[in-house]
């Protein structure tokens, strides 16, 4: 009997759901399965595409296709003069999504905001630990140094929230636009806790975003429907489907065959085919990333800037980029930050190719041998560390420096590479999190990052003073000036060889409109439409 009932229920669900097939559906061929749908607990771009950017919203948002901050759930905010207190005013009447597993009885309020952050650090919060999900690590919350900077979150009234910091930290606002800062429903959490179904919070998400979750067939298909109550207005597409397609060639074939409308990350080898097809458009943008090679600036003779400059000059960067990125292309990096980021100084240039000059300096410095590090992983900012190492090795040989290539598997590679006494030149790179220059300068080259992510073990007092001051200043124009000065020092000191900012691609069918490449590497479907 029970079986018959289940069958009947399933049949009913199927007939209801299959009715949706006639609606306007956009299919996105995503590159991997999401770990789960709670953006506080995950770290991958594909996790965020499937959760925070579809189902959830944040207090502040990144402008679609940019890194500027704009209002989200908070209509406006004030920052106190000392830069320590942020007061957010919430948009009134924001509804959480109504689904077959949750019916909200109240609108979004300050409790939801406080809960969304409290659960990520407060060990007393039942949602912080094993009671919710086993082995939670809250990687982004800790990774963005939130525990260090956040003193407390407070509810002032239903529509006002106050954030107090331990010290001024201008990038905080950008942090609050990041995926981990998505606002979840406290009412839904309370209900699940009462029902003893806390794990459902990560598999059946409820948010205030443009799309609401319908179904996930593990490793195959994720289905969403437009949120009819979305506070910025209902989306034009009715249904959004993520068809999980890990193989890049298969993904592109699916777009060409019309089985999906948008697909990210084509293989460089397929770019010519895509460009030749008249039904699809190849979209590209300089990624918010940098590929570079860190010299350990504490070990002689690499402690001398002129030696580092000479090593840079010895590398034929143009040929290197062409060989590594091929048809996909990349923007040669003049600066640590990419040109799409505010404060980028167009007048700062990195070392030009000059092997004769390099040879003189290196001979004088007595540099005969050097370690050159490479790993096995394909990264957006460097598709082939090993190939890069071989080419650099050949260039350096021409100026009389014998490079020995050191290989490690990716995680071990970084573990060894970040050690203070690691010798030689270490290839690495970075993809930005929040579009704030601090996320590049301080994360990669602050003195406090030595042993963590400052692979050059470089600690320059002038540079450090500038980036720390910029971190504490709220005014963006003023911050911009400070970062411009920091870029001049970086170019003069050359703690690293700067390679390139890679291009990021997506393939979109021509009947799709409103899709934008995003410098943060996310794929958003709000504002996207499709002609039948």
């Amino acid at each position: 009997m029970k079986k018959t009932m289940t069958f009947a229920a399933a049949l009913l669900a199927a007939s209801v759901l299959s009715g949706m097939a006639s609606a306007k559906t956009l299919v996105y061929c995503s590159e991997a399965s999401p770990a789960n749908f709670d953006p506080g607990t995950t770290t991958g771009g594909n996790d965020f595409d499937a959760s925070s950017r579809t189902v959830y919203s944040r207090l502040v948002e990144f402008k679609h296709g940019g890194t500027e901050i704009e209002p989200g759930l908070a209509d406006k905010w004030e920052i106190s003069d000392d830069g320590l207190v942020y007061t957010f005013h919430l948009h009134p009447g924001v509804k959480f999504q109504t689904t077959d597993y949750f019916k909200p009885t109240r609108d979004l309020n300050a409790d939801d905001v406080v809960f969304s952050f409290d659960r990520q650090f407060n060990k007393q919060n039942p949602w912080n630990g094993d009671k919710y999900l086993p082995n939670l690590t809250w990687d982004y919350y800790t990774g963005m140094d939130m525990p260090k900077y956040v003193a407390k979150w407070e509810k002032v009234d239903d529509l006002t929230v106050k954030l107090t910091l331990t010290e001024p930290n201008a990038p905080m606002l950008a942090n609050l636009g990041m995926d981990f800062a998505s606002i979840v429903s406290k009412e839904y959490a309370d209900q699940l806790e009462k029902d003893g179904k806390m794990a459902d919070f990560s598999t059946k998400p409820i948010g205030t975003g443009p799309f609401q979750f319908v179904d996930y067939q593990l490793d195959a298909v994720i289905r969403y429907a437009a949120n009819p109550d979305y506070f910025k207005g209902k989306e034009k597409i009715d249904d959004l489907v993520f068809a999980i397609t890990p193989d890049a060639t298969a993904r592109i074939q699916k777009v060409l065959a019309g089985e999906c409308d948008v697909a990210p990350y084509p293989n460089p080898a397929d770019i010519a085919t895509i460009k030749a097809n008249k039904d699809v458009t190849l979209m590209d943008q300089a990624g918010l990333n940098i590929g570079y090679m860190s010299y350990n600036t504490t070990i002689p003779p690499l402690d001398k800037p002129e030696v580092r400059h000479a090593l840079n000059q010895a590398i034929d960067r143009e040929a290197l980029i062409k060989s590594l990125f091929q048809d996909a292309g990349a923007t040669p990096a003049e600066n640590l930050i990419p040109p799409t980021m505010w404060s980028w100084d167009k007048d700062v240039k990195t070392d030009a190719y000059n092997p004769e000059e390099a040879k003189k300096v290196l001979e004088a410095a007595g540099l005969k041998e050097i370690q050159l590090w490479a790993s096995d992983r394909v990264r957006p900012y460097n598709p082939n560390f090993q190939r890069a190492a071989e080419l650099i090795q050949a260039d350096w040989a021409k100026v009389g420096v014998k490079a020995t290539i050191v290989n490690y598997e990716w995680t071990k590679y970084r573990e060894e590479g970040k050690k203070k006494d690691r010798p030689g030149a270490f290839q690495i790179g970075w993809t930005g999190d929040n579009g704030d220059p601090d996320n590049f300068f301080a994360t990669l080259f602050a003195c406090s990052a030595i042993g963590v992510s400052n692979y050059s073990s470089w600690c320059d007092k002038d540079f450090e003073d500038l980036i720390q001051k910029a971190k504490k200043t709220s005014d963006q124009a003023e911050r911009s000036k400070l970062y411009e000065q920091a870029q001049v020092i970086f170019a003069k000191q050359a703690p690293a060889f700067l390679l390139a900012h890679s291009q990021v691609y997506a393939v979109v069918r021509n009947n799709v409109s409103g899709f934008k490449m995003d410098p943060l590497g996310i794929h958003r479907f709000d504002g996207v439409d499709k002609a039948e």
Partner: protein
């Protein structure tokens, strides 16, 4: 017969212990630290690293980690995925029907083509057909699955547009799984167009996955058939004046099939190994793709429990084949 069965089962116990050790050791021999893998590009501060190591139990001595693991597995607890935080067994149960369905159709493809081809080659021994079939079988056996899969997609789905590129069923079809087998579920819901869509999605991956077993089965059938065709009783049957088709179809084939059945059983391991690549190319949501993802994520728990579960299935199938073989061929039981 019972004694034979018990004997076989007793032999499985040391194999099982060996597999737990292999699965456990294998993931730990993989280079890379799971905690660093989880932290991504950010890296993790040393204090936090130690804290996490403790949280995951990686600070314990290796034998203690193993003892814990065996204890949990013995009570049916296969652990919780580090990345998705879902129970491994639950994910396995959700994904396994997809792999089973694909493997079944791959096997059907391999048998439907492989057995008749093998018979025909044996009967026409030395002919151009035989020569070219055996040559093709060798090529099929050595075919790199990844390359073969992409080639078929580009030609049949991209160029001709005959088959869907990847996935299990057209995205317009959406129903809650009953059995987890798309072909069966679509029929249970009475949706013929969904059934057709599921079949069309099966064509390419089944061919890709079935290619190696097809080559093996065709060669095995041919050699078994050649052997049988030389036997006295076949000659007798011919001497009696039976038609060629009857001699081959009834007298020869039945006996030739015995080693072929064993071969088919042994192909299960090959199928599951092939499924890892096939599923990744065709975005087929089965356990092969799941394992690959987990290896990249350094999800120790999924990899070691997944390996164990797959090994258990291969062992179970081999046991069934052994038993079936004993049923078909009574001489084996005494041995």
């Amino acid at each position: 017969m019972l004694r034979y069965l018990l004997n076989k089962i007793a032999l499985l116990i040391p194999t099982l212990v060996g597999i737990t050790i292999c699965a456990f050791a294998f993931v730990r021999l993989l280079p890379g630290d799971p905690i660093l893998a989880m932290a991504g590009e950010h890296g993790v501060a040393p204090a936090r690293y130690e804290e996490l190591k403790q949280q995951f139990g990686y600070n314990l001595p290796i034998w203690e980690q193993y003892a814990r693991y065996v204890g949990e597995v013995a009570t049916g607890d296969f652990g919780v995925s580090i990345s998705s935080k879902r129970p491994v067994l639950e994910e396995f149960k959700t994904l396994f029907p997809a792999t089973l369905e694909l493997s079944f159709f791959a096997m059907v493809f391999a048998m439907v083509i492989g057995i008749p081809a093998g018979i025909f080659a044996a009967v026409k021994r030395g002919s151009w057909f035989d020569q070219s079939l055996m040559g093709t079988a060798l090529v099929g056996y050595s075919m790199p699955i990844f390359w073969w899969g992409l080639l078929l997609i580009i030609f049949f789905s991209g160029y001709l547009g005959w088959t869907p590129v990847s996935g299990r069923i057209g995205l317009q079809f959406f129903f809650k799984p009953i059995t987890g087998f798309m072909t069966i579920d679509s029929l249970l819901y009475g949706k013929w167009d969904a059934f057709r869509s599921a079949l069309s999605h099966l064509v390419l991956p089944a061919i890709v996955l079935g290619t190696i077993p097809l080559a093996v089965i065709a060669r095995q059938t041919r050699s078994a058939m050649l052997e049988v065709l030389g036997e006295d009783y076949v000659r007798t049957a011919r001497a009696k004046g039976l038609s060629g088709a009857r001699v081959i179809g009834v007298h020869a084939l039945r006996n030739a099939l015995i080693p072929v059945v064993t071969t088919i059983g042994l192909q299960v391991g090959t199928l599951l190994a092939g499924a890892i690549l096939t599923e990744t190319i065709f975005a087929w949501p089965g356990i092969g793709k799941w394992m690959v993802d987990s290896i990249f994520k350094r999800d120790y728990v999924v990899v070691q429990s997944g390996l164990l579960l797959i090994a258990l299935i291969v062992m179970a199938v081999n046991l069934i084949v052994d038993v079936l073989y004993a049923v078909i061929n009574p001489r084996i039981r005494a041995a």
